[in-house]
Amino acid sequence: MTETTDIIWPCIRSVGFDGLLVSFGDRLSEPANRAALAYRAAVERAGLSGIEETSTSLVSCFVRFDPLGTDATDLRADLSALLAGQDWYAAPMPEGRRLWHVPTVWGTDLAPQLEEAAQAAGLSVDAAVAMLSTTRVRVQTIGFAPGQPYLGQLPECWNIPRQQALTSRIPEGALAVAIRQMVLFSVATPTGWRHVGQTAIKLFRPDSDMPFVLRPGDEVLFPQITREAYENMVKSGPDGGATFEVIR
């Protein structure tokens, strides 16, 4: 069962009964993230038969197919051929990217794990906020919950593990940190990530024309605001004070 040898990237592995995963690495890097996004776009364009759905995770492209209608070996061969067609690590970022400014309350009772996270990163609370609120992070993938971004990459000191035990409920709009990444939660959910900031943005709007707000490749800043300003932004609508400009 264990056939771990040194994997050569990129590689194609099976996921459950009806999935194939084309991975560009086992750790997060910008080239691997770009490769996954570009490769998925190419799979979609190629219109390979038997594919039901594709998505990306941080450094991989996931392909769901019907194994009862399509031979997995044939599909693997098609994906391999596409993989060999170009240097995916050198692919450009997606078009039409945006830079978002999402106002954030760092710490306080709204985000009770800032102190603990700063300690894990070996920083004072002030230094942690200074770093997290000025680091421009990129949406590396949308996942876990609808419209929810994984954002990175933070400086090395933020390579802190997830918690052993799950937090039973982190609220919508929460900003949490682990393994040099942040997640901006689109729904209330249990999590193992540490809750360091709170925003008022709604990332999943199922009844609007744009149900999912952020896109892979978008970049985000989380400027610090006061509790009072936050309360006003909560009342201001689904953007919660967030604004964006197109990256040129």
């Binding site: 264990t2 996942g143 393994i179 999943f204």
Partner: protein, 336 residues
């Protein structure tokens, strides 16, 4: 006016479900849909209608309902105590409910999820292409006392049909495929995982079901720093305390806790239906075995309609037996 059913008393975990909304994985939205898709298919077969129609999923117990019009119903999934105006009804069967009649559905006997189907399906509004409530995504909400379930068009008149339920209640052996992180676990841990008797925790829900066992957990070295990767329903995630969680239809789409394997889609209803405390064992199978099992399961679902039979009343199901003139020959015993 379309057929309608009033919820006079809602049980604690009732929601409208269909086959879910595939196609939004790239946006972080899992497919969702009925926890036991076999029950959905059985209800459709009993009412001779499309399996894409929505039904009411009832967790652990049902509730009390009143027909606002004449309507057809079917009851599938975990068997629940059920009466129509006080008289017991047969489970995994279709029935006529006349206008004004009160349907009372009690606690589940042999599983977790029971389903109430209406002729024409529940005509809830579609969001992102499906009527299924997706609780973890905040799409829709649990059904409440006072809600009215309206039905779509129901051109079929047939009721009084019964279907032997597909066996999936009471736990047992769950077949598992190796997945991309299975190799992170040592052979010893994988062997122990397969040799362990698990009991479904009482905290299970539509996102996932925790499995308890005696002895140490199934942790893997470095498991808390694994890169987040795609999740599919059926994945068995090992969280920080070493206990396996089987992820269900409403699971997250990516996650960082390592996964020891993936339950075959056709065995997932067994996990969903296992009662708290039910005993389950996991066994790894190879791809060919999985293909064979899935092919068989799909054929079974496709053939359900052919297995629907007219209901023959069993005297044991007739509490008003003494009111029948048994001697006069009016009842031959084979009436529908």
């Amino acid at each position: 006016m379309s057929a309608a059913l009033l919820i006079r008393r809602a049980g604690p975990g009732m929601s409208v479900q269909d086959q879910g909304r595939p196609g939004y994985l790239s946006q972080g939205l899992s497919r969702g849909g009925a926890a036991d898709p076999v029950a959905l298919a059985e209800g459709a077969a009993l009412l001779s209608q499309s399996p894409t129609l929505a039904a009411l999923e009832m967790t652990g117990m049902g509730g009390e309902f009143q027909a606002l019009t004449d309507l057809r119903i079917a009851l599938t999934g975990a068997e629940m105590r059920v009466t129509l105006d006080g008289s017991p009804l047969v489970w995994n069967a279709s029935h006529m409910v006349p206008k004004g009649a009160v349907l009372s559905i009690g606690s589940a006997q042999n599983g977790t999820y029971g389903y109430l189907h209406i002729g024409g399906g529940i005509d809830a509004s579609e969001r992102l292409g499906s009527r299924a409530v997706h609780l973890s995504a905040g799409l829709g909400a649990l059904s409440q006392t006072g809600d009215v379930l309206t039905a779509g068009p129901d051109p079929v008149g047939q009721v009084g049909r019964i279907l032997p339920p597909e066996p999936r209640f009471g736990g047992g052996v769950i077949r598992v495929l190796a997945s991309l992180q299975t190799a992170l676990f040592s052979d010893a841990v994988l062997a122990r995982f397969q040799a362990t008797e698990f009991h479904r925790d009482h905290r299970g829900n539509r996102m996932g079901v925790r499995m308890n066992s005696d002895g140490e957990g199934f942790l893997v070295e470095g498991g808390l720093t694994v890169l987040s990767e795609v999740i599919v329903p059926g994945d068995i995630q090992i969280t920080g305390d070493g206990a396996p969680f089987v992820l269900m239809s409403e699971c997250q789409t990516t996650g960082g806790y390592p996964r020891i394997g993936t339950v075959l889609p056709c065995d997932l209803p067994k996990v969903a239906q296992a009662l708290p405390g039910a005993s389950l064992r996991f066994r790894f199978v190879d791809t060919d075995t999985a293909l064979e099992a899935e092919t068989r399961a799909r054929n079974t679902l496709a053939g359900l309609r052919r297995r629907v039979q007219p209901m023959i009343r069993d005297p044991r199901d007739m509490p008003d037996l003494l009111s029948y003139q048994l001697i006069s020959g009016m009842i031959a015993g084979d009436e529908e």
